[in-house]
């Protein structure tokens, strides 16, 4: 009996606590809304639009993909702190997270109910298609009509690369990425091998390493076959054919993949059969595959610029452009890379006279030349003209040389076709090497899914 009373008391107390808390929460919301209405009315009578940050107390909601172990998480949070220090009346509520599928689903849900943040750092390519469809972003052009010096430092090539799939620029890009073949140079030296700058030396390296008990290429076919799929297709097809989603004479999408795409993808199975990949490449986790490379048990790994920072041995590791496959059309120094994210301002913030200037200022702070240099930190591609940092490691220098020497930089396939279509290729990598599906089937199926999703 006493226990039951305890339970009831606990229940009442807990209910009271959270009712009070939620009441407090909603209370605040009401006063802010009232404030906005009053001052909005006041603003209308002043005449010329004021482009400076308001003095009123406002809350800016922001979101970014810089979270988790991303080294830029810290830097981004520092910008937030600096912003709030400069404008003490503005509170920034940030919800940044690593962009996994759950987060993408959350953002999509937010946009669909009008709950979107005021400023968001998000994808600019097809990965953002669901969100772009909600049409809640302001274009750069519109912003520049009121703020002509918005993101003035960003290079033209960067604007081109970061346009949304419909060709319009809405986001300010800060950094981009490149992808390349990471090699443990010390292993190559040990076995008297040249770095695999062409296909013959690549195959020779694979065979030699295999004979000597070293895993030639570290990869998790189950989790991250992405890079191999992209590079083999690019290498066989060359940049132009690689980046063109096939259409018929009238410009309608067709589900007939170019021969070169198929030929490229088939090489994945050839390499698998040759033993170029770890014995457990179908089940090994991506982290474990990375470990193989980092501990010198594997000689090569195809990955992106973000991988460079996590490698312990920065002295004996280099990164080079992926070699051209037999009869391939890629230029030897063509690489996969690009700009796929940037800072957007939503219409919600833009149309709100109190928030507009603050949002613009916030993006400006994140995209100034100095800040971009901090975000870039020598890794990947910068969207403004920058000098290489003085204290770069040999691997860092190698990466910079890779992107500077690139004769062509091509965006990976997920920038061009629907997410569902792209996933169907990725999740079929294991089927491909097992022989349960052919490269042609996989690619044609993906193109069909892409067509279906456009209706």
């Amino acid at each position: 009996m006493r226990n039951f009373k305890k339970v009831v008391a606990l229940l009442i107390v807990t209910m009271m606590v959270f009712v009070t808390l939620s009441a407090c929460g909603s209370g605040n919301k009401e006063t802010t809304a009232a404030d906005t209405k009053e001052t909005a009315a006041g603003g209308e009578t002043t005449g010329e639009a004021d482009t400076s940050v308001t003095d009123e107390k406002i809350t800016l909601t922001t979101a970014s993909m810089m979270g988790g172990t991303d080294p830029n998480t810290e830097h981004y949070q520092e910008v937030i702190q600096a912003f709030m220090k400069k404008y003490p009346n503005v509170t920034i509520e940030d919800s940044s997270q690593v962009s996994d599928q759950t987060w993408k689903a959350k953002i999509a849900a937010q946009f669909s109910v009008g709950d979107e943040p005021d400023v968001i750092q998000f994808f600019t390519d097809n990965n953002a298609s669901e969100v772009l469809a909600a049409d809640q972003f302001v274009t750069i052009e519109e912003i520049r009509k009121v703020y002509p010096d918005y993101a003035a430092d960003v290079m033209d090539s960067a604007w081109q690369a970061s346009a949304n799939p419909d060709g319009v620029n809405r986001a300010v890009p800060t950094t981009g990425f490149w992808e390349g073949l990471f090699c443990n140079k010390d292993l190559f030296d040990e076995y008297g091998l040249e770095l695999p700058t062409d296909w013959d030396s690549f195959i020779k390296a694979v065979e030699t390493f295999k004979e000597n008990g070293i895993v030639p290429v570290a990869v998790s076919l189950n989790e991250v076959p992405h890079y191999w799929i992209e590079h083999l297709m690019l290498s066989a097809a060359g940049g132009e054919v690689f980046t063109e989603v096939p259409t018929d004479a009238d410009g309608n999408l067709v589900a007939r993949s170019p021969e070169e795409w198929v030929k490229g993808l088939e090489i994945l199975k050839e390499l698998y059969d040759m033993g170029a990949f770890p014995k457990d490449s179908q089940t090994i986790s991506n982290d474990a595959a990375n470990e193989l490379f980092k501990t010198k048990q594997a000689a090569m790994q195809l990955d992106g610029s973000w991988y460079a920072n996590g490698i312990d041995d920065q002295e004996n590791t280099v990164v080079i452009a992926f070699p051209v496959v037999e009869n391939g059309n890629k230029g030897p120094n063509d690489i996969i890379g690009g700009l796929s994210s940037g800072f957007y301002i939503t219409r919600k913030a833009w149309d709100d006279p109190l928030k507009r200037a603050a949002a613009v200022e916030f993006v400006k702070m994140n995209t100034s030349k100095e800040q971009i240099e901090i975000y870039w930190n020598g890794n990947g591609m910068a969207t403004v003209e920058l000098e290489a940092p003085a204290d770069m490691t040999p691997l860092g220098v190698s990466g910079l040389e890779l992107s500077n020497a690139a004769t062509g930089t091509f965006a990976p396939t997920d920038a061009r076709i629907a997410g569902e279509a792209y996933s169907s290729i990725i999740t079929s990598a294991v089927d491909l090497v097992n022989g349960t599906k052919t490269a042609e089937e996989i690619l044609n199926n993906a193109l069909q899914i892409n067509i279906d999703s456009q209706e």
Binding site: T14, V17, G67, D70, V98, W306, Y307
Partner: protein, 282 residues
């Protein structure tokens, strides 16, 4: 007298076997726990390369890292409020449902049982977006109730089914006696059933709390404001395409686990025998 001596001897051998079995299983359950704690004091690379031994380089960096990722005390508070409320609410509602479904016979009983089983099965992934829209419409995103309400619903069927299992084991004699004395259903429920159910309520409370506490998915989608993050959100900070920080993961898991164990040890004391003693004699 000789009978007792014989009993004692055979119990000894049997008892040793029993303890061996129990101890073996105990080692399998203790080991991972110790493993996690030891690895919390290693750097990430050491965790992967040297995970089964004591730290070569003992470091507290993972914990300082975790503390800088989130306001730990605030997160504990959020978790306790959310999971505590869910637990209490579920205990009350589930016992009521279980009581009705075990004591009464009525036409829709099978249908309701079916509905209850159905809600047990519904995967959280499939209902989260509509729930998000609902909460957004009420302006409740990033509030406690946004997480509490769906979690109550999600846990209710499990708790009701478990309580039903326990209530079926309660002999009806005590209720019969109460009704004969003229007590109403409400009185019987509150004064006889509920106190007798103390062990079962504690059990359900433990699992309810645990499930709600560890339900990162729901919390991730419905809470965006950092101030409101529960402690399980620590696991969001451990990886990105730049790699996974395993040392941080071990430290985060340790930080997350501690309050739950405290709650468990505290609630566990309620799982005692002897509450139904005297039922038959009485």
């Amino acid at each position: 007298m000789p009978g007792i001596v014989k009993n004692k001897r055979s119990i000894s051998v049997g008892k040793i076997i029993v303890y061996i079995i129990l101890a073996t299983w105990a080692t399998t359950t203790i080991y991972p726990f110790i493993w996690v704690i030891i690895n919390a004091f290693k750097s990430s690379t050491e965790v992967v390369r040297n995970s089964f031994s004591l730290p070569e380089v003992f470091t507290l960096k993972n914990f300082t890292n975790a503390f800088s990722n989130q306001n730990i005390l605030q997160s504990y508070k959020n978790s306790l409020i959310i999971s505590g409320t869910v637990t209490v609410a579920v205990m009350v509602l589930a016992t009521m449902i279980a009581f009705a479904l075990t004591r009464y016979q009525f036409r829709f009983k099978t249908a309701l049982l079916g509905l209850l089983s159905a809600s047990l099965m519904i995967p959280v992934f499939s209902t989260i977006i509509p729930v998000y829209k609902m909460m957004s419409g009420l302006g409740w995103i990033s509030t406690y109730q946004a997480v509490i309400l769906p979690q109550i619903a999600g846990n209710l069927s499990f708790a009701a089914i478990v309580m039903m299992g326990f209530l079926r084991g309660l002999p009806l004699e005590m209720e019969e006696a109460a009704y004969m004395e003229g007590a109403g259903v409400a009185k019987v429920f509150t004064r006889i059933i509920v106190p007798l159910c103390r062990p079962s309520l504690a059990t359900v409370a433990i699992f309810c709390f645990l499930w709600s506490y560890n339900d990162l998915f729901t919390q991730k989608i419905l809470i965006s404001r950092e101030k409101m993050f529960p402690i399980s959100n620590l696991l969001e900070h451990i990886s990105s395409k730049y790699g996974t920080d395993y040392g941080l993961m071990a430290a985060s898991v340790t930080l997350i686990v501690i309050p739950v164990l405290i709650v468990y040890i505290f609630l566990q004391k309620n799982i005692v025998k002897g509450l139904t003693a005297g039922a038959i004699k009485g």
